[in-house]
């Protein structure tokens, strides 16, 4: 799906990277937990849907060669993060929709989930000491 089409569907704004509106994202992964993004997403060019706005979000997107980052719930990253993303040529978008609505709209429009590795915990329960 093209970023321009995605922005239209969600009424999302480009925070940076509007010049790459024609870029295609292959599939999508939604998480606030960056540990999960690092452990599960298996392919490149994926759209990351998140409510996390720390500088690490863009760095994770960069090291995993993701196609773009979409911030939900009206959240906007700090200016330094935006500038970093601009330098790394990672488009950032923001929408007022929450994560559930965002995923629903994109899924209905045909954007499929990212291929992923098995969940790290499989069917096992976490260690007993884990809260």
């Amino acid at each position: 799906m093209k970023l321009a089409d995605l922005a239209k569907l969600l009424d999302a704004q480009f925070v940076t990277g509007a010049d790459q509106a024609e870029r295609e994202v292959s599939r999508a992964f939604a998480a606030d937990l960056l540990s999960d993004v690092l452990a599960m997403v298996q392919e490149e060019g994926v759209l990351l849907i998140t409510g996390m706005i720390t500088p690490q979000v863009v760095r994770v997107a960069e090291v995993m060669n993701m196609g773009a980052v979409l911030f939900v719930r009206g959240k906007l990253p700090p200016q330094a993060t935006v500038e970093y993303a601009t330098g790394a040529t990672i488009p950032l978008l923001a929408t007022q929709q929450d994560m559930y609505e965002t995923c629903g709209i994109l899924y209905r429009a045909g954007l499929l989930p990212a291929k992923r590795k098995g969940f790290p915990l499989g069917n096992a329960f976490p260690h007993a000491g884990h809260p």
């Binding site: 690490q56 979000v57 790290p120 096992a124 260690h127």
Partner: protein, 149 residues
């Protein structure tokens, strides 16, 4: 032991503890180095993920340390060494889902307890040693030209 292969490229990066503003920048630098050396996307990606997990662990839990990127004829090595506090039970710490992360680390989206396991998953060879009170060293190796399953 096979004789060590020629070192093509070496970089040393310092990692400061609790420096959340810069956390992740070593990994993005390593990624750019490997891209510039013409490594395949698969190698770059695996090395970047290993580096990011290791770097975040050092920032979040250690007293600081350094990461060495070593590119050899037949492999990419990432060496992590910190100044403590050390890990008492490495098997336990390596278990997916086990975490001692404080709330502030979890609020940043980290500390889910997949870090060491994810480093190992992306490596061909993985070695971790630790001594409480002294520190932890990790060597993660990616073999070039070997199919990764």
């Amino acid at each position: 032991m096979p004789s060590p292969t020629r070192v093509i490229h070496k970089r040393i990066y310092e990692v400061a503890p609790r420096d959340l503003e810069r956390a992740g920048t070593v990994s993005t630098a390593v990624r750019r180095e490997l891209l510039a050396l013409g490594m395949t996307p698969d190698i770059v990606r695996r090395a970047s993920i290993i580096c990011f997990e290791g770097e975040m662990n050092m920032v979040l839990y250690s007293k600081g340390g350094r990461i060495i990127l070593l590119v050899r004829d037949d492999r990419v090595e990432l060496l992590f060494s910190d100044r403590g506090p050390g890990i008492a039970d490495i098997d336990l710490a390596s278990q997916p889902g086990y975490s001692t992360a404080p709330d502030w680390a979890r609020e940043l989206g980290f500390g889910a307890g997949f870090g060491i396991n994810n480093m190992e998953q992306n490596s061909d060879l993985f070695k971790i040693r630790s001594r409480v009170g002294e520190g932890t060293v990790v060597r993660a190796t990616i073999l070039l030209g070997v199919p990764f399953l």
